[in-house]
Amino acid sequence: MAIDFLYPLYEVVRDPQRCICCRACERQCANEVHHYDVDFGCMMSDESKCVACHRCVSLCPTRALKIVKTDHTFKENENWTGKTISEVYRQAGTGGVLLSSMGNPEPYPIYWDKLLINASQVTNPSIDPLREPMETFTTLGAKPQAIERDENGDLVDNMPPQLTLNVPVMFSAMSYGSISYNAHASLARAATALGTYYNTGEGGLHQDFYAYGEHTIVQVASGRFGVHADYLNAGAAVEIKMGQGAKPGIGGHLPGIKVGEDISRTRMIPEGTDAISPAPHHDIYSIEDLRQLVYSIKEATHYKKPVIVKIAAVHNVAAIASGIARSGADIIAIDGFRGGTGAAPTRIRDNVGIPIELALAAVDQRLREEGIRDRVSVVIGGSVRSSSDLVKAIALGADAVYIGTAALLALGCHLCRSCQTGKCNWGIATQRPDLVRRLNPDIGEKRLVNLITSWDHELKEMMGGMGINSIEALRGNRLMLRGVGLTQKELDILGVKHAGE
């Protein structure tokens, strides 16, 4: 119907001078934007199908292609923007919930960009990481609450189970199902090479990846997919997923079309059935129930593995985190409202939750006020985009960060935010064998290792500049941060002074 017509948001611009009709674009576009027209003897495109993933642009050997934002426009209106109008048309046409993927793209404040990092001058020497040891090794888990000594007076090693990270960055939970086998293989191999961890997400652990167990965090989510005793014991830690930053308060849905043989076996559900994760865990309706699940998992893993509880950053996150810290969890993971997803209702992704910077600052401060900050480690995610975000996160109080989107970008993701279609041209968010093949884990592993190694270098340079030679001396060291352009309220919540103070 004409009323449903929406002009494409992006246009494919092809330079006919440059195009040699090699048809690589045609072969590489799972959305079937490009085709070779025999009659005209040239390439044509249907931009209504284009998701702006840049696969064609990246592979075009003569740089004949580019994707531009259309200048087609509705009559300008600050209130009823073209996007808003189009969404009404789509919903009027379909009666459906709008779906999106990856993180919240809306123009909310990004507090990382309003924080500045300190450096030493005169009174305190900066440290050159190329000349002096610079330690980014960290351990996650509860710290011993009492010093014990044996009959000789020697310290007893009563350290609760810890995760040990060579670099304070882990790959956040992304299930096998939401991302491909090769994406998981890349993450598992890179985590092992880097001495950190990746996270299975709620999709279980493929039998091929048990070999990477020492660098795997296995997740238990509300759908309990793929959870069994061997699974819990296969990883280095178990994460209970209570919420996700991209869609706090709701569950997940992996459509049956993606549940092929392998995923069906890994998730322990019949092939072709939808995998539905309920919004809550139906055995956790309150904090005391969480404590029971934490200890059930500890029993099942013989108290040898730290238990992580992951929550979305919501309004009363500090109080929730305090409850979790007292529930026996060893690590709290907090996911901010910019966190990614394979699919989420657009309205929820774009309107629910709070920025991770504020959530982290509030949680860290609350746990300190209650004197229980050393009972748990705090890991945050939800749009850590660079090593400077990482430094700021640690200075605000995080023990380590989770990265999801940045890791996927390293694997080739171009943030086209169309994961929910299952036709990822980069072989990441898809289960189609011909597309999955596009991500060679040899390349993926190398690129992830490169990314984290470069961040680690930058982290060390910034730490050295501050005269800090160990990551634990940066943790919660908010004097190393200053705000710019923030209100007093924001500064108070972040616990930092304004630049110049």
Binding site: T123, T138, D154, R368, G371, I468, L479
Partner: protein, 364 residues
């Protein structure tokens, strides 16, 4: 400018310490002579001393030294203290008029014994009971500041060069088995008497030269355990960390040094067992108490003295020995000034703690 205590204050400094292993009483003038040659390491914005074994006649009582801004603060503070302590003796701390020392507050000294019923009602051990009173006064009673609270020891400090401060307090009239001294070079403060070093809690008195880059990480951690870092100085934070680790968590001083100036992981990896496990344990157990950035500190405590450098040794510190005497100072000249002939002179490595104690308990 804002008064000290509102923001974190970095400073460079001079430190010196003298210790008699046999417990011989060393006159206060000796430590003044030691710190004096390092005049240029201070800028006249703070100097101070701690003497141990100086109050033998009151050795069983907590010796509180207080600064008061005015008599109202004194009244409020004394009213508070009287609810918790019996005052065995009290009076102004004797001083000598010294032209270069100005702006003095009221300086009072009290010898206190906890009131038995108040102590038992509090259900705290005695030292914790005393600490809480000290922290309360410093955080909550405007214009009153407890700067010394140990038994048979005392801190004397002021705004000025250390040698002037020592003469102002007539230190030649005191004698003890251990002295530490500090000359301050703060970089962004008008100088406040309470902000001078040593910084003390109970019998633990710390003098410190350096600027710790881990300050806010340390502060925010230690404040979980009831400490209020009201001065915002590194020394205050280090004192509380030591109090927490040694008094509350019952680590030995060497173990506490292994937390504060923890060995690098690569050093730990190369250690033989069981040292490796112990070192790794301490680092993992108290990661937020690792102190980074340059520092050399002297920690006086009942019956002993500890010297410690940051793990990269970014501040100078030398140790000299002669007979039963041990000397520690930022510069060798401070040692030679009082003991030209030494049996041994050496420079401890980064993170390597040097602990000396009395040969016999309670030697003084």
């Amino acid at each position: 400018m804002r008064r000290e205590g509102y923001e974190h204050i970095p400073s460079g400094c001079a430190i010196s310490g003298i210790f008699s292993r046999s417990g011989e009483a060393i006159g206060g003038e000796t430590i003044i002579r030691s710190i004096e040659p390092m005049h240029d390491r201070s800028n006249g914005l703070g100097g101070g001393f701690a003497g141990y074994g100086i109050y033998p006649q009151y050795k069983d009582y907590y010796a509180f030294h207080l600064f008061y801004d005015d008599s109202a603060a004194k009244e409020a503070c004394e009213a508070y203290l009287s609810r918790y302590f019996e005052t065995v003796a009290c009076g102004k701390i004797p001083t000598r008029r010294t032209p270069s020392i100005t702006g003095e507050p009221l300086i009072w000294r009290y010898f206190l014994a906890p009131l038995p019923h108040a102590l038992s009602d509090s259900q705290l051990d005695e030292r914790e009971y005393v600490v809480r009173r000290v922290l309360h006064v410093n955080a909550n009673i405007e214009g009153a500041y407890v700067f010394s609270s140990g038994k048979n020891m005392g801190v004397f400090k002021a705004v000025g060069f250390p040698e002037d401060v020592g003469r102002y307090y007539r230190l030649e009239e005191y004698a003890g088995y251990c002295w530490t001294a500090h000359g301050r070079y703060p970089t962004n403060t008008p100088g406040w008497w309470g902000g001078a070093h040593p910084f003390a809690l109970l019998d633990c008195a710390v003098v410190h030269n350096g600027e710790i880059s881990s300050y806010d990480a340390n502060r925010r951690f230690i404040e979980m355990f009831g400490y209020a870092c009201t001065l915002k100085t590194d020394t205050e934070a280090i004192t509380y960390i030591l109090d927490y680790l040694v008094r509350k968590r019952r680590l030995t001083l060497e173990e506490a040094a292994g937390v504060i100036a923890a060995p690098f992981w690569q050093t730990i990896e190369a250690m033989p067992e069981p040292r490796r496990t112990r070192a790794a344990y301490l680092r993992k157990a108290f990661p937020s108490l690792l102190v980074t950035g340059p520092f050399s500190i002297l920690v006086g405590f009942e019956g002993g003295l500890m010297a410690l450098n940051d793990r990269l040794k970014l501040r100078s510190m030398v140790v000299g020995e002669r007979g039963d005497r041990v000397y520690v100072a930022s510069e060798e000249c401070a040692i030679r000034a009082v003991e030209p002939e030494l049996d041994r002179l050496w420079s401890p490595g980064g993170g390597q703690s040097v602990v000396v104690t009395l040969d016999r308990k309670g030697g003084a």
